[in-house]
């Protein structure tokens, strides 16, 4: 019996309790803060489940982008009318339905063979040919690269969607002041170094394009908040190039290796490592630019032109 069991039980109970509290607490701001804490606890649980890569992604996205997005939305929608509540009869029906779905999932979970051999043997067997030494990176960028390409496309689609429903700029919030500007001068380079380090680490240990990109995206958010970077209309072309670069380079490489005897996404083993690094570097920049743009929430436009008459 491991003493960590106490930690695990407390953390598991905290996760369920937090999930309940996020949705039950009356104050919407408290709900958002609880949700951010839920993200922290999730990262810890994933470390306990021997998934440091996932914990790193959750830490970077959860601590960086999600909280900032939610807090901005809270400000923008303050004072919005609350819709009417669900009638109790519907609640009970939906409750029974949700319980049935969860119970079905639980039966499948408890009935499934645990510790069963998954694909780890196949992954380890082909790792030498994949071009990287870290299994998760091999899965993401080589074995299941098609999924990852689609994920980059989803990010691109998200930015297109956000730009097309964007509202006119808000009243400008006051800049956070000189102390923050000083902090940004120190923290932005540090964050850039950490983001690049995570990208580089991905070849041999947990890290990689998403984690690096998420850290760099959060750096973009810090810069936007500090007004170290103010999106201007003439940056639109550059921004669009950054959004599309990841998808474009990834797809071009995937197709280019597909000529001759190979199929698309089948990198020649000798070139696998440089190709993966190229894709990862460009995808990192795309993810960072996209996440910062999702936070900014609209196309940069000239301040002098009124969006609405």
């Amino acid at each position: 019996m491991d003493a960590m069991i106490v930690f695990d039980l407390a953390l598991a109970l905290a996760l369920v309790g937090l999930a309940w509290a996020v949705l039950a607490t009356e104050d919407l701001f408290a709900a958002v803060v609880l949700f951010i804490v839920f993200g922290l606890m999730t990262a810890l649980a994933w470390v306990r489940l021997a998934a440091p890569d996932v914990a790193l992604a959750e830490a970077a996205i959860g601590a960086g982008v999600t909280g900032a997005l939610l807090l901005t939305t809270l400000r923008r929608t303050a004072g919005a009318a609350t819709p009417e509540v669900t009638p109790p009869a519907v609640s009970w029906g939906v409750g029974a339905l949700s319980l049935a779905v969860t119970a079905g999932l639980g039966a499948a979970f408890l009935g499934a063979p645990s510790q069963g051999p998954g694909l780890e043997g196949a992954i380890a067997g082909n790792l030498a040919a994949s071009g990287v030494e870290h299994p998760v990176t091999a899965v993401l960028l080589n074995y299941r690269a098609y999924d990852t390409l689609m994920e980059v496309v989803v990010l691109f689609a998200a930015v297109v969607a956000v730009w097309s429903v964007a509202q006119a700029p808000e009243a400008e919030t006051p800049a956070p002041g000189p102390v923050y500007a000083g902090f940004a001068r120190l923290a932005l380079p540090a964050a850039a170094v950490v983001g690049a380090y995570l990208l580089w680490a991905g070849a041999t240990m947990p890290g990689g394009a998403f984690q690096g990109g998420a850290v760099l995206g959060a750096l973009g958010i810090l810069a936007l908040l500090a007004r170290s970077y103010v999106p201007a209309p003439e940056h639109r072309a550059m921004a669009r190039a950054a959004f599309i670069a990841g998808t474009a380079v990834f797809a071009l490489v995937a197709l280019a290796v597909g000529f001759g005897p190979r199929v698309a996404f089948e990198y020649p083993p000798a070139l696998a490592k440089p190709l993966i690094l190229l894709i990862e570097a460009v995808v990192t920049l795309s993810i960072a630019a996209t996440l910062a743009a999702l936070f900014f929430g609209r196309e940069p436009e000239p301040l002098s032109v009124e969006a609405r008459p």
Binding site: V16, A51, S114, E120, V136, R144, L294
Partner: protein, 97 residues
């Protein structure tokens, strides 16, 4: 009791709470949070499926799937929040007319 069972059950609980609340809550921002919780609960089941008792190494495929899922979730959330913002602005304008 092993970590995979404990966190698997916690994931199930989070999934159930998220599903129920996503269908019953009225405020749009909370519904987005509920859907995200639902997704996290499902991710827990994937990560638990990949877990092996300490000497063994975890299965990397579910890990990669969940990392992909985290990035897709944040994109979906950003779009949902932009829509919520738009709805709020339109309602505010409608109220003024």
């Amino acid at each position: 009791m092993s970590p995979d069972l404990i966190y698997g059950l916690a994931g199930l609980g989070v999934f159930g709470i998220g599903l129920f609340r996503a269908l019953t809550l009225a405020a749009p921002l909370r519904r987005v949070l509920a859907l995200k919780l639902c997704a996290v609960g499902a991710s827990f089941l994937l990560i638990v499926a990949a877990y092996r008792e300490p000497p063994g190494a975890a299965d990397a495929v579910p890990h990669a799937l969940v990392i992909t899922g985290i990035v897709v979730m944040v994109s979906a959330m950003a779009v949902a929040l932009a829509l919520i913002h738009r709805i709020a602005v339109l309602e505010r304008e409608g109220g003024h007319d």
